[in-house]
């Protein structure tokens, strides 16, 4: 019961803010809605007892990446944001296509979970403590089974950092 309320509430906020991100004209407001969206996604992670992921979401995404967006939005300082295609009907076509895709996806999910009820065991039954937001477990995984991907990710970040500096610096 409590979980259902939390889930539906959070979902409403997540989707609502996501729509606002995409539709708002003012880019700064858009970034703000993105922040709100990410905060609610973090709460959803807590609901899924992935506390570590929730904290990382806030720390890295909200506290880091989106601040970067905000910086860039302010630096480019748009007066009127560029909008509208030359071909307005393209929007409608895209919309039709995407709605179809969403419907297909929903159908797939429902069919899938209805067809195999055994594996779609309700998550409410699942033991919370075993998976449960265990920082140690995540760390253990990262440094044993996934050590090489972890190192690759760190190299990727290093490369991205160097690349970002090279791109953004006016003259070297």
């Amino acid at each position: 019961m409590g979980e259902a309320i939390a889930f539906y509430g959070l979902s409403a906020f997540i989707l609502g803010f996501a729509i606002l991100v995409v539709t708002t004209r003012n880019t700064v407001h858009s970034v703000l809605f993105l922040v709100a969206n990410f905060m609610f996604v973090a709460m959803l992670y807590v609901l899924l007892s992935a506390e570590f992921l929730a904290v990382i979401q806030v720390l890295v995404y909200t506290g880091g990446i989106v601040v970067l967006y905000l910086f860039v939005v302010m630096l480019v300082n748009l007066k009127g944001s560029p909008e509208a295609h030359e071909d307005p009907r393209r929007l409608a076509r895209t919309g039709l296509l995407l709605s179809g895709a969403v419907l297909a996806e929903f159908a797939a999910i429902i069919v899938y979970s209805a067809a195999r009820p055994s594996s779609g065991a309700t998550v409410s039954d699942a033991g919370l403590s075993d998976v449960g937001g265990n920082v140690e477990q995540v760390g253990w995984m990262l440094y044993t089974n996934y050590l090489i991907p972890f190192e690759v990710a760190s190299i990727l970040l290093l490369v991205a950092m160097v690349g970002a500096i090279v791109l953004a610096k006016r003259e070297l």
Binding site: Q57, Y61, P82, A84, L91, L98, I109, N134, M161, A168
Partner: protein, 102 residues
């Protein structure tokens, strides 16, 4: 309906992903497009976390951490490109980003 299953999370994730896709398709402002991509990555993370919860295994969360790392790298480089582009063309409209060099 009151019982929240993984399917519920998947529906949420799919909807969020679609909103992101719509953003990428419809908006012309490249910063908004980047943010829509972040929304899509978040949708993926929700799925990963939900499956991690269902399967009682943290590997999903580990992958979500990787996704966040990649998102950080993507944002850094992408925004660097936006800045460099803006400096030269004074626009962030994606329709005007149609030349290979300037």
């Amino acid at each position: 309906m009151l019982e929240i299953t993984t399917a519920h999370y998947m529906v949420l994730s799919a909807s969020l992903f679609m909103i992101g896709v719509i953003g990428v398709m419809v908006r012309r402002n490249i910063i908004i497009i980047f943010m829509s991509i972040e929304l899509m990555l978040n949708a993926v993370n929700i799925n990963l976390a939900a499956f991690s919860y269902q399967l009682e295994h943290v590997v999903g969360q580990v992958f979500a951490v990787f996704v966040i790392a990649v998102a950080a790298a993507e944002a850094a480089v992408g925004l660097g490109i936006i800045l460099a582009f803006y400096r030269n063309k004074e626009t962030v409209n994606i329709d005007e980003m149609n030349v290979m060099r300037w």
